[in-house]
């Protein structure tokens, strides 16, 4: 079931009133059923995977809480083996078999190894990481094992964030599911605004930009350099609006239910360096990788070389998390390289997680230059993220650098200016004032009214009519 479908609107129209009328315990039961219905709309058979993950980690959590230290490690390994085994089978089996075949081909052993027709269950990477985080946190003693099975089942399957995040931590989401929720008008208003803005990003921008991007990547050799460059910029907008739009809708729906999900995006294209970019982009994944991979590898407390190695390993695996293809590994590798170089450049200097807004004209100029540079560096990596194969990525890259210089890309420049302008309008205020909602509650009432109407009209009459799935569902 897609957020941007009428079926989802109908689904929500049933779930919300029911939810408000039920007691806490029944709310959770109803939400579990609703979440399985939501997930089953793609393929009901995959609900069994969701249930398996729930049963395994619920049991492992309980087992971890009452076993001696010597056995705890084995229990954690069971959880890791089951979760990563399922993920590995569905997502990476053919990838590794194909890679293995490619390795054997020079030895004349082509054709070795089985190939299975495996359908990737939607959102499996997201809920696998979420359940794993719970078991690891219980193992580390940061989270108490829950005995509330319904609450835990809801933690794993909670429909707003089930298929594309944010990847929640049990320490943040589980307590909210286990207590009585309170919803006031401020929460309803902010939830509704998040949903509206999410839909504007997804339907009004991301889907509208796709027709520019798709032909450019389908046949980069046939495009001019300018067309390729601006299609790449447009893809940067598309992936941001598609994914952050989903996160906004997920957070908005959750807030209507009285549940607060973590912020997943904080105006990433206004980052002044790559480290800041990763503190603003897909925050729930980057912090997951930091806490459950980078730090256990030793983080930055193990000497320079090991720190760079850890950064690189973390980003390579982060790339692989996105998809079973070497292009994603290169995407992660490039980001690892950027982060390592940036770490080297700022060696020894302490800096806040998110630097404050610039003060004077000099700082502003420098900040703008750095934003443009960072944006272009990130765009370079998007080529590998979006391309299906290396030859395609290479053709795209060389096409930008040495392609046909004809000036046939005015439409794409206009589109980038238009859609980029809307993204800026949505993001700049939040960036300057470090706030969550694009339409500040401090604005005069009539201004808010006009902006709400403009957003709704834009969505109704300028947005795409075709229901396009969210890009991150495939991960």
């Amino acid at each position: 079931m897609l957020f941007n479908s009428f079926v989802f609107v109908a689904f929500l129209a049933i779930v919300l009133p029911l939810y408000y009328g039920l007691s806490h315990r029944w709310q959770n039961r109803m939400l579990v059923v609703a979440s399985y219905v939501f997930y089953g709309f793609w393929d009901w058979r995959f609900c069994s995977l969701l249930l398996l993950s729930t049963l395994v980690d619920y049991s492992c959590g309980l087992a971890l809480s009452n076993r001696p230290a010597g056995q705890r490690r084995n229990i954690l390994l069971v959880s890791l083996a089951v979760n990563l085994g399922v993920l590995g089978f569905f997502k990476y089996f053919n990838f590794f078999v194909d890679s293995f075949r490619a390795l054997l081909e020079p030895l004349g052993l082509a054709g070795a190894g089985p190939a299975l027709d495996i359908v990737l269950p939607v959102g499996i990477s997201f809920y696998t990481f979420q359940t794993l985080a719970y078991t690891i946190d219980v193992y580390r003693g940061r989270q108490e094992a829950t005995r509330d099975f319904t609450g835990f089942a809801l933690y794993v399957s909670f429909f707003p964030q089930l298929v594309a995040g944010p990847i929640e931590r049990s320490t943040h989401l589980l307590p909210q599911l286990q207590k009585v929720r309170r919803v006031d008008n401020a929460m309803l208003a902010s939830g509704a605004q998040l949903m509206l803005m999410g839909y504007v990003k997804k339907v009004g921008i991301a889907d509208a930009v796709a027709p520019y991007v798709n032909p450019a990547f389908a046949d980069p050799g046939a495009q001019s350099a300018g067309t390729l460059l601006f299609s790449l910029y447009l893809f940067a907008l598309q992936i941001y609006c598609d994914f952050s739009g989903y996160s906004d809708i997920a957070r908005g729906v959750s807030r209507l239910l009285g549940i607060d999900l973590m912020i997943n995006f904080k105006q990433p294209y206004l980052s002044r360096d790559i480290t800041e970019f990763w503190r603003r982009w897909h925050i729930s994944l980057s912090t997951w990788l930091r806490d459950y991979l980078y730090i256990p590898l030793g983080g930055n407390r193990v000497g320079s070389f090991a720190t760079y190695r850890n950064l690189m390993l973390t980003m390579l695996l982060g790339g692989l998390w996105h998809g079973a293809a070497w292009t994603f590994v290169v995407w992660g590798g490039l980001h690892g390289l950027y982060l390592a170089v940036h770490r080297r450049l700022i060696a020894g200097r302490r800096r806040p997680d998110l630097p404050p807004a610039p003060a004077g004209p000099g700082e502003w100029s420098a900040a703008l230059l750095r934003m443009v540079l960072t944006f272009n560096l990130v765009c370079l990596t998007w080529i590998f993220f979006r391309a299906d194969t290396f030859p395609q990525a290479w053709a795209y890259l060389t096409g930008i650098v040495a392609g046909d210089p004809s000036l046939d890309f005015a439409g794409r420049v206009l589109a980038f200016a238009f859609f980029g302008g809307i993204v800026l309008l949505l993001d700049v205020g939040c960036w300057l004032e470090d706030r969550e909602l694009p339409i500040a509650p401090t604005l005069p009432v009539w201004v808010r009214g006009v902006v709400y109407a403009a957003a709704f009209l834009f969505l109704s009459f300028v947005g795409e009519s075709d229901v396009a799935p969210f890009i991150y569902f495939q991960f």
């Binding site: 009328g21 806490h24 309803l188 009004g204 238009f418 006009v450 109407a453 009459f461």
Partner: protein, 371 residues
């Protein structure tokens, strides 16, 4: 379990209220809703939007032409390919502007009815209407198969007559025209970027048949036509399965055809309902399957029911009846130019023979000799 443990009002701690800013937004939307009503009729710039075909016909072949036609052709793409209008005009000794080919690709009687209702000037001087028919037009599965047209053109009464989800969407669209007023930014931007020279200002019009010299997109020579038209679904046997299999007779399209004929009759227009010859494989396939045979019989019996009383019915079942060879048809029934010329001359001969253009009014004309 006690009832009180299931239900509770503990979650909503306040009575939900609509904020003043939302009232303002609602007021703007209401004003917008009525203010933009005329925009419904703007042609859509995107070929993907199906209203585009209807509006191209309506705007560039009806609204922008001052001369009143005497002979109009209505129906589907079959008519688009079956007639050479300037040849028909010559054969009937009429000026070219007096013959107007106005079928809507993928059209059904409802579309033709809308075209005439919205453009009464088409009937002011009309003496003859040639309406092509084929089974899909009366199959409920194809009813409003082009929903974009339906949502744009339907009155509230039309919307209420649709069924199921179509009705919900159509009525909702009447109140908040989220389908009929939608113009995706992409469509406008792509149109600006990708302009093509062509016959009509909206450059990508596929209104002319592919063999026509003015066809802009897509275009095919006669030799290429078969390949261009014979998409899987348009192959004769597939087309039979698609349009006759699981045939659910559409009362709404049947009513639309009756209303269309009544409208033409009221204006004294002689009507020839015709079905050009289809590829023999179409009928062969239908003969193989009982449900398709029944569907075809239902279709023909309905056509007989509406014919008579000033409406002539002419159905050519075999290409040989008109001297065509089956292999001349590039798909189930669209014609290449050579056949279109012959078909046009045949139709001109019928019109001359019946004297429809001579009569001051067609009401009360001689009973047509059907088939």
């Amino acid at each position: 379990m006690r009832r009180s443990s299931i239900f509770s009002s503990e979650t909503l701690v306040e009575r939900p209220q609509i904020a003043p800013a939302v009232w303002i937004a609602l007021a703007i939307c209401v004003v917008f809703r009525f203010g933009v009503e005329p925009l419904r009729d703007l042609p859509k710039a995107d070929r993907k939007e199906d209203l585009y075909d209807f509006r191209v016909v309506e705007k560039f072949f009806v609204e922008d032409v001052d001369e009143l036609p005497q002979v109009i052709m209505l129906g589907s793409s079959i008519s688009m390919y079956a007639f050479v209008p300037e040849l028909l005009a010559r054969e009937l000794s009429l000026p070219e502007t007096a013959v107007r080919n106005l079928p809507i690709p993928g059209g059904a009687p409802w579309d033709s009815l809308m075209l005439l209702r919205r453009n009464p000037k088409l009937l002011e001087n009309a003496k003859v209407a040639l309406i092509d028919v084929q089974p899909y037009m009366l199959n409920a599965d194809y009813e409003y198969a082009i929903p974009d047209r339906f949502y744009n053109l339907a009155s509230l009464a039309d919307a209420a007559r649709a069924e199921g989800w179509s009705r919900v969407r159509a009525v909702a669209n009447w109140f908040w025209p989220f389908v009929s007023l939608r113009r995706p930014m992409r469509a406008w931007a792509l149109e600006i970027e990708n302009r093509r020279e062509g016959v009509v200002p909206f450059k990508k019009a596929a209104y002319y048949p592919m063999w026509h010299p003015d066809a802009t997109y897509p275009r095919a020579t006669e030799a290429e036509l078969s390949e261009a038209l014979s998409a899987e679904k348009h192959r004769p046997a597939n087309w039979a399965d698609l349009t006759l299999g699981e045939f659910d007779f559409s009362e709404r399209q049947a009513d639309a055809l009756r209303d269309l004929l009544a409208l033409l009759k009221a204006h004294g227009v002689a009507v020839l309902i015709h079905q050009p010859p289809f590829h023999p494989d179409f009928y062969a396939r239908a003969a193989e399957r009982p449900e398709e045979r029944q569907a075809l019989a239902r279709y023909f019996s309905f056509l007989e029911e509406v014919s008579g009383d000033g409406v002539m019915l002419q159905i050519w079942k075999r290409p040989a009846e008109l001297g065509f060879r089956p292999e001349d048809l590039p798909d189930y029934g669209h014609m290449p130019r050579r056949l279109a010329e012959r078909y046009t001359r045949t139709m001109a001969a019928i019109i001359r023979e019946k004297g429809w253009l001579d009569a001051p009014a067609a009401v009360g004309m001689a009973q047509p000799d059907a088939r």
